[in-house]
């Protein structure tokens, strides 16, 4: 079909499809008139649409297959079998692999390269360099063994496998003295010198590329790889790949100039600085390159630590170096200062010519001979600047010093200052993230892993105090408690659906941990600091106690903790993902308090369920024994034992609490239910009919439910499985008991009283999912709705699946419907089976749910802004015009604050909507794209980042007077900023730059 014809067909088709099925044929005939071809074409499409049913609407992709595709483990590359991924970086992945051809088994490391780095000429360069690299036989250099190209055209390199620790880690873990550190680095310099003499420059030296073996031998990785990958990069053209690590890269590399052995000297000098001082060189490197300045003396960096209020950091540096801070500074002063300084001069010609020069001077130091660097140092002129740069940690930076960097930088800041309105307070020119101001505006919390470990830092804005709260996982978001004495961090994205919210006090103590069961972001934390809008609705969150309730229109339901609630003790057991790809089991009270970790092994433990009526024992899945088994743990003693049932990936189980047994649906015997006695570990087979049984679930109503699947082929090649719900008349089935078929359907969900089971069914040829309820007293099933909508909607008093229907504790069934016109959240009451109540009905997907303290809810949907009073149906407060984007911003007393932006009109308008629906324009901001809006001062002022003509501006909008002030002009490329806070009459706001953040004071 050509585009013109399709346009015509499409118009008719869409009009017809927007009407109910009964009217379609008549409408089609009237729309097509005499055009019988058009009628036939649309008719064919309508038929195909009806035939396809729901297949296109509710498709599921095989994610395991995606995962398998993405993972190389188990695949072969040439003669090598990939065993395990051992690392990943910007350029590609590193795998441990085994050579499986050629008569001998050899363990190697394989580095794969990402497509970005696949440049033309790579193969030729590899061949050229290969011989050079093969000649680099040195005991401290890992050898390049082989290379090739994967089936999808991605190059890979095979290297000698080295088991070791990164240099910096090794030094600290073994608490090497300064002298021992210098000795180790001298060996590294010798190896680099060996390569320099053969014309090979490493170009990416850093602690991670120097592994130290258990015997203490350093091994250099990736020699020559950068050159192979990037080619000659001295032209500095746009297509050149800058394959280096900025922190250790010399200025000439950063600027894309010619690279000589002096670049490696610079990197070695930087590594030396870091392992000698325990400070990172990152911030100084940035300042240095931009301002053509030198780094401070190593001893000065250490001395400055004394002024650092973070005594734990001070103590940790002192102890890992086996001395005191004062002692360390004294050791570094003089020769070592001069050596580091000479190695890291910005101008390549002022450094040691190659690694050999650096090695010589380090030997001279070790042997108490005069070092060559000293004389050069005396000649150096710019010493007076050193003190301005302060210590290597940015955190103690005084405001004055930062301001000096700001105004003194010749490259220029990316902002232009508007005098009198905008004052820079703090700049972090590095990778700190997620700054959040405390409610009183006196402090800022942010996330950094500057010292190798993720941590939350809390800094006073006047620079007087800084705290560091180390975390195992790098938080993605931070939120302050309204009281300012606690923080909530969103952490851990190990597996979807298992984000973790953690409450922390400012001493770093974990107050609670809450598994955030839905994948997705937190879209808003209301200004009260208590209501959290997550991907699946609103929760009430106490910063000190954790999630308490998930809110719905019908009032609070018990919240959705990701785990199992014990029926008697109301304690919850749940699994929490950790950074090392394992999972820990936790137990807590229902509101998240009294949480404690049950396991801390390096293996995964998951899917915990209670196994006893006292609430002391749990069953869970683990692979402690090397295979996946069911285990049981006694919580008071912490003792765990294997229940020895080999688990498969798709197996599922349910504990039969009263009978001391577990029912497992396993796929290993073509799908069968197996009963496992917890005490004796004996297994007995309950079913043996070769059907695939799944998801057993015992109910308090005295039945055991499960699902059974039978393959079924439908039209269009969309194959699906026919699912039946089966039930045993007892919760303790024995071999010989035969389950009865309850209904054809899936997603069986028994009611809490065990009298009813809800399930869904997809009639053949329909795109609608139906919701049914079957009373278990032999009467037939009842259709509740044929418009069930499988959205990610959660009302979870009992379970933790995403479901489109659920029971609450009073046996009320909630479900979501969606027809062509509207979405609805409905409730069905078994006492009044003939009717369903609609709690919310809306024509479009609802957005920006915003709750007022008294329970009123506002949201936008389509072109309307709607409000819901507690217990009342939703009503439209205000209608915008089509083609307008809407946001609901906040409640301001009785008024609702909203914003609209017409597509393409280039203006953002703030509106106040009165309870009677009257609207008032508050202010208009020129903007083609609005990237963020924040409100402060009781929603009387807004701070907006808006993009007009490709340039982001920060605007301060007075919502009382409609006055605008443009806080920044020009070159603000990046739109991010942290929500501002007010300090008296001034606002503080952090803006995101190309790297890092600036914090500004905006005054009236």
């Amino acid at each position: 079909m050509n585009p013109e014809r399709w346009k015509q067909v499409r118009q008719v088709l869409e009009e017809v499809l927007s009407h109910p099925e009964t009217q379609r044929q008549d409408l089609l005939r009237s729309l097509c008139g005499d055009d019988s071809d058009l009628l036939a074409e649309v008719h064919t499409l309508l038929e195909a649409d009806a035939r396809a049913g729901s297949a296109l609407e509710q498709r599921t992709l095989d994610v395991q297959a995606v995962a398998a595709k993405l993972s190389r483990v188990g695949q072969c590359l040439g003669p090598y079998r990939i065993d395990e991924r051992i690392g990943a970086g910007g350029m590609g992945e590193v795998y441990r692999a085994t050579r499986i051809e050629g008569g001998f088994e050899q363990r190697v490391a394989i580095k794969t390269i990402r497509p970005t780095f696949r440049q033309s000429g790579l193969d030729a360069r590899f061949e050229t360099e290969r011989q050079v690299l093969a000649d680099l036989e040195h005991p401290n250099i890992t050898r390049l063994l082989d290379g090739g190209t994967t089936a999808d055209g991605s190059p890979y390199f095979v290297m000698e496998l080295v088991e070791g620790q990164p240099l910096d880690e090794y030094c600290d873990e073994h608490q090497l003295s300064t002298r021992e550190r210098v000795e180790l680095l001298t060996l590294v310099c010798d190896a680099v010198c060996f390569a320099h003499q053969r014309g090979v420059v490493h170009r990416d030296l850093k602690p991670g590329n120097v592994l130290v073996t258990a015997e203490g031998h350093p091994k250099l990785l990736d020699f020559g790889l950068v050159k192979v990958l990037a080619g000659d990069d001295h032209q500095g053209s746009l297509t050149t790949i800058h394959a280096f690590t900025p922190r250790y890269a010399s200025p000439e590399q950063v600027h894309g100039e010619a690279v000589t052995p002096a670049a490696d000297v610079y990197a070695l000098g930087t590594v030396l600085f870091e392992i000698l001082t325990g400070c990172t060189a990152e911030r100084l490197a940035t300042a240095q390159i931009d301002a053509s300045e030198i780094r401070p003396r190593a001893s000065a960096a250490v001395s400055e630590l004394r002024a650092d209020d973070d005594s734990s950091r001070r103590d940790s540096i002192a102890s890992t170096h086996g001395t005191t801070i004062g002692g360390l500074a004294t050791t570094l002063r003089g020769d070592l200062d001069a050596i580091v300084s000479t190695a890291t001069r910005p101008a390549a010609r002022e450094r040691y010519a190659d690694a050999g020069g650096l090695a010589d001077d380090l030997r001279a130091y070790l042997q108490d001979r005069p070092v060559a660097a000293r004389s050069k140092e005396r000649a150096y002129r710019a010493r007076r600047f050193i003190r301005h740069y302060g210590p290597a940690t940015a955190l103690t930076t005084a405001i004055a010093a930062t301001a000096l960097w700001w105004f003194g930088a010749t490259e220029g800041p990316v902002f232009e200052n508007v005098p009198g309105t905008l004052t820079p307070l703090i700049t972090w020119p590095s990778s700190e993230d997620a700054p959040q101001f405390s409610p009183d505006g006196s402090r800022v919390a942010f996330v950094s892993d500057r010292d190798g470990q993720p941590a939350i830092w809390v800094q006073d804005l006047d620079g007087s105090d800084v705290q560091r709260i180390p975390r195992d996982r790098r938080p993605a978001q931070l939120h302050w408690a309204p009281t300012g004495d606690a923080l909530v961090a969103l952490e851990g994205t190990e597996i979807s659906g298992q984000l973790l919210l953690v409450g922390l006090d400012l001493e770093g103590r974990e107050l609670w941990a809450h598994a955030w069961s839905a994948p997705g972001e937190i879209t808003g934390w209301l200004d009260d600091g208590i209501h959290l809008i997550g991907p699946d609705g609103a929760s009430r969150m106490s910063p000190r106690r954790g999630a308490i309730e998930t809110l719905t229109r019908d009032g609070p339901l018990i919240g959705a903790l990701n785990g199992e609630v014990h029926p008697r003790t109301r304690r919850v057991v749940f699994a929490v993902p950790t950074t090392d790809r394992s999972e820990d089991l936790w137990v807590s009270d229902l509101d998240g308090s009294n949480a404690s970790r049950l396991t801390q092994t390096s293996t995964r433990e998951w899917a915990p369920q209670w196994t006893d009526s006292a609430g002391e024992r749990i069953a869970f899945i683990s692979n402690r024994s090397g295979q996946i088994d069911l285990w049981e743990m006694d919580i008071p003693s912490g003792e765990a034992r294997a229940l020895t049932l080999n688990f498969e990936r798709e197996d599922s189980f349910d504990v039969l609490l009263d009978t001391g047994s577990i029912v497992v649906a396993t796929v290993r015997e073509e799908g069968n239910l197996v009963r496992l006695d917890i005490e004796s570990g004996t297994e007995s087979q309950l079913t043996s009919d070769l059907q695939l049984d799944l998801f057993p679930q015992a109910t308090s109503g005295g039945r055991l439910f499960a699902h059974r699947t039978v393959p079924l082929l439908t039209g269009l090649g969309f194959r699906q499985m026919n699912t039946e719900i089966i039930a045993f008349e007892t919760t303790d089935p024995q071999p010989g008991n035969v389950p009865e078929k309850v209904a054809r359907g899936h997603r069986a969900l028994p009611s809490p009283d065990g009298k009813l089971v809800a399930f869904s069914r997809m009639p053949d040829g329909s795109r609608r999912e139906e919701l049914w309820v079957k009373p278990l007293d032999q009467s037939g099933p009842r259709l509740i709705t044929s418009l069930l909508q499988p959205v990610n909607f959660k009302l979870l008093p009992l379970g933790w699946w995403h479901r489109s229907y659920t029971w609450d504790a009073d046996n009320q069934l909630y479900y979501v419907v969606h027809d062509d016109e509207a979405w609805g959240i409905n409730r069905w009451d078994p006492e009044h089976p003939g009717t369903s109540l609609t709690a919310v009905r809306t024509a479009e997907e609802p957005g920006d749910p915003t709750i007022r303290a008294d329970g009123w809810l506002a949201y936008h949907a389509g072109t309307g802004v709607h409000v819901v009073a507690p217990g009342a149906p939703a009503r439209t407060l205000w209608e915008s015009t089509p083609g307008t984007r809407l946001r609901v911003l906040a409640w301001r007393g009785d008024e609702l604050l909203a914003a609209q932006q017409r597509d393409g009109s280039g203006a953002l308008e703030f509106l106040a909507l009165a309870p009677d629906g009257a609207s008032r324009s508050l202010a208009v901001v020129p903007s083609s794209t609005t990237t963020s809006i924040a409100l402060l001062k009781g929603a009387r002022r807004a701070i907006v980042t808006a993009n007009a003509s490709g340039i982001h501006n920060l605007w301060v909008v007075d919502l009382d007077t409609g006055q605008l002030r443009q806080a920044t002009r020009n070159r603000l490329r990046s739109a991010g900023y942290s929500a501002p806070v007010a300090i008296s009459d001034s606002a503080v706001v952090a803006t995101r730059q190309h790297e890092g953040w600036d914090i500004w004071l905006i005054q009236d």
Partner: protein, 184 residues
Amino acid sequence: MEENITELLERWSEGDGDALPPLGEAVERELHEIAERLMRRERVDHTLQPTALVNEAYIRLVAQDRMQWQNRAQFFAVAARIMRRILVDHARRVQALRRGGTSRTISLDGVEIADGDIDVLMLDDSLRRLAEMDEQQGSLVELKFFGGLTNEETADVLGVSARTIKRGWASARAWLAHDLSPAP
């Protein structure tokens, strides 16, 4: 080599086509990471939807602002494109191996079982034909299928109203259903 995702997204949304390749790389890298973990984690209690995979990548990659109007949708647009490519690549590879084997898919809802449901390669072809007739509809389906975007988010990315998306989706779906049908 750290890329500022937010900035790349902005550059891309401002029409800077050069920003797409590094953006795609970063997203793919993240999807790889997550997929690696999935492979190691023999979960019995749930299997993930691609939407969830992409969602997780988003959380890891994009700076969190309280009220970002567009970044999220833009990110998903990139992710949708990558997800489509990954699936098509994968489908090509396994095509030969697929001879009536039963590879099961268990959806997030827990019990619903489907097998392979849609032939990704056929879908990819159909989508290409659809895009030739109407480019915007091609993008629309890509965003909804492979990125898991809602109507509202799709509308944000394509710069049209949600109503337009809804109508465009209805006709695209009918056309796809027809195009995917076996020849009579």
